[in-house]
Amino acid sequence: MSKHLSGSQIVCEALLKEGVDVVFGIPGGAILPLYGVLSQYPDLRHILTRHEQGAAHSADGYSRSTGKVGVAFATSGPGATNLVTGLATAMMDSVPMVAITGQVGRAAIGTDAFQEADITGASMPLTKHNYLVMRADDLGATVHEAFHIARTGRPGPVLIDIPKDVFTEMGNYDPDAPLDLPGYQIPCKAEESQVEAAAKLINESEKPVILAGHGVVLSRAFDELRELAEKAQIPVVTTLLGISSFPEDHVLSTGFPGMHGMAYSSLAVDQADLIINFGSRFDDRIVGDAKRFSRSSKKIHVDIDPAEINKTIAVDAPVVGNIKDIFGQLLPKVKQKTHLEWLQHIEHLKAEHPSLRIPESDRLMGQHVVKALSDVTKGEAIITTGVGQHQMWAAQHYQFKNANSWLSSGGAGTMGYEVPSAIGAQVGNPDKLIWSICGDGGFQMTLMELATAVENNLPVKYAIMNNNHLGMITQWQDFFYEGDFQAETYTANPDFVKLAEAYGMKGIRVTKQDELESAIAEANAHDGPVIVDFVIEKVDDLYPMIPAGQSVEELIEEPN
């Protein structure tokens, strides 16, 4: 039945119909009419962030950790452009999100009006789809389309730009109107011939490796992945974003490969006779030099997006569809096997190339911190990270036990993701322990969101790996720019314990290895947000390393 409502009301009713219960945002002039009706919709909880980038990353963290579509509000002009980094981050990692932005009034569009920005133009390549809605009558259908597009197929962010006077215009909303999306198909099961071909390769293989990517996480196919791996006894390598798709204490778990992955993992991928890729896009951080990537293996690529097939790596058996459905098709066709020799070889690789180097030092190192976090939380916390050395230490040394407990900006590599994404994850998982592992660089890009955590009593624990350096930059300048260090040192970091106190949080400083466990336990026990300032060794290089565009032949396992 059609209802006659204002544009703002239509948006709220449509959001509620989509099951939205929380929105992250910050108001401004053009979106005020939407905020003006929020009091009529108490079931739409609004979390006020301090910056629109924070709103976008919070919606992203909420989405990744719950599987629901994250929602962000922002106003026109700078409000909308501040969202863009968050949209790009979600786009690269296929995270379902809907962003709603205010726009200047219809008559002012195109006149360079105050706070006008062409956000649909700007966000076109960084969203799965976007809309500029010019009639209140179209709002309801557009919101429902946007959610449908965001969460189905290969998920991604969708932006809806709404002029100020469309929010106030009266229009008709039919909540039950059918979607009008000709040509938009949602892949589910794969063609039987593709599955047959893949099963044949799996059954014939003697040295198979599963490469589990973000697609396994996005389609929540954790149990199916485990069932397949156990049935045919296939070692499971996870990509950076595939981390936590497979329990890391499992005997078949073989770490993550690539630029800073485990050496044994990269070597297993290189030596395999079959790579079964579930939902990874053969990213350059894993592949390196495409011509020399795992030359002796055949490749199966299971992906929901046909455009990913043969994009960077030519594959022998493409299987296009929803990964969860495809596991269902594949499992009965895959024969039970033991692969004893190959698994013994992998154990040998793990022993010969331990990869989890913790430097022998009396000083506090980043690896010590992550190891202690992993031990004290028993690998059961949800971890968010920024980008850089701390991210890789977290990926290497935290032993993830729970499915979908790793939130990190893999594709876009967005520093600053760690602070607001943890807020979104905590909002979506109020009873779970969230640790945000931060670099002192990235933390300072989005630290204003600490206020959001305090204001909403969100007990996020922030672990700052504080070395007064952009650690990864320091390492690259050392390795690839002849030690010509430029703009890599932070000489004026704030006192992060005092900063915590200034925000009304608990602050703890840790400078020694023997303080680690008690400090982490103290943070865990505190009923509120905490910053732990881990003052770590100034400069420490990250290993293993395969330099960009290279292959396992150039693998550097240890410092010279």
């Binding site: 076109m124 799965k128 789809h129 597009i149 999306l181 000709p182 097939i309 994009k311």
Partner: protein, 196 residues
């Protein structure tokens, strides 16, 4: 289909939603994926609310073979087919304005007849003709008219459709096969159904 130097041309036919911004989405996709548009023709299709676009894209072979899959990711693209290797018939339209004073007009008109072009406007010193056909036919007419003094050449780019029969047109692929050739070959007419 090779156009030399490892680059390749592909013909793509797409049915797209007739909405503002669709062309910007497509051209933006082409730009950021490194596809170069050799020609583009857009117009309303047989279905209301949908437009038909025919592209000829060129670029490195490894890149352009993904054009159709990438286009299909766009929500506003309803249907897309890479018809490069299919049995297609295709045409291009050109308007050519050429110098035609009384002294040479007869010769120009004779060429018009041979090429089955139509004169659509005539002035004291010039005339304008329309010609449709394959690229080679149009290219060769333009080449022949050059000596009279070309004033303006306007070309639509290629439109293409799948053939309704299984009989292959032998020279319909000339758009591609002659793409790397610096010289134009005067085409041979072969009756009404020919593809000159």
């Amino acid at each position: 289909m090779a156009a030399g130097n490892g680059t390749q041309q592909r013909t793509i036919s797409a049915l797209v939603q007739d909405k503002p911004g669709v062309l910007a989405r497509i051209s933006g996709l082409f730009r950021r994926r490194g596809f170069n548009i050799a020609s583009l023709a857009v117009g309303r299709s047989e279905s209301p609310g949908l437009s038909r676009m025919t592209f000829v894209v060129e670029g490195p072979e490894e890149v352009v073979k993904h054009v159709a899959a990438q286009l299909d990711r766009l929500i506003d693209v309803v249907e897309v087919r890479d018809i490069t290797e299919s049995n297609i018939v295709w045409r291009e339209l050109a308007l050519i304005k050429v110098n035609a004073p009384a002294k040479t007009r007869g010769e120009v008109l004779e060429l018009t007849n041979v090429y089955r072009a139509n004169v659509i406007d005539i002035g004291v010193e010039s005339l304008t003709m329309e010609i449709s056909g394959g690229r080679q036919k149009i290219d060769s007419l333009i080449e022949l008219l050059r000596k009279f003094g070309l004033l303006e050449v306007i070309r639509t780019g290629r439109v293409a459709t799948l053939r309704g029969t299984l009989v292959e047109g032998e020279d319909d692929g000339l758009f591609q096969s002659d793409a790397s050739s610096p010289t134009y070959i005067l085409p041979v007419t072969s009756g009404e159904s020919g593809s000159v």
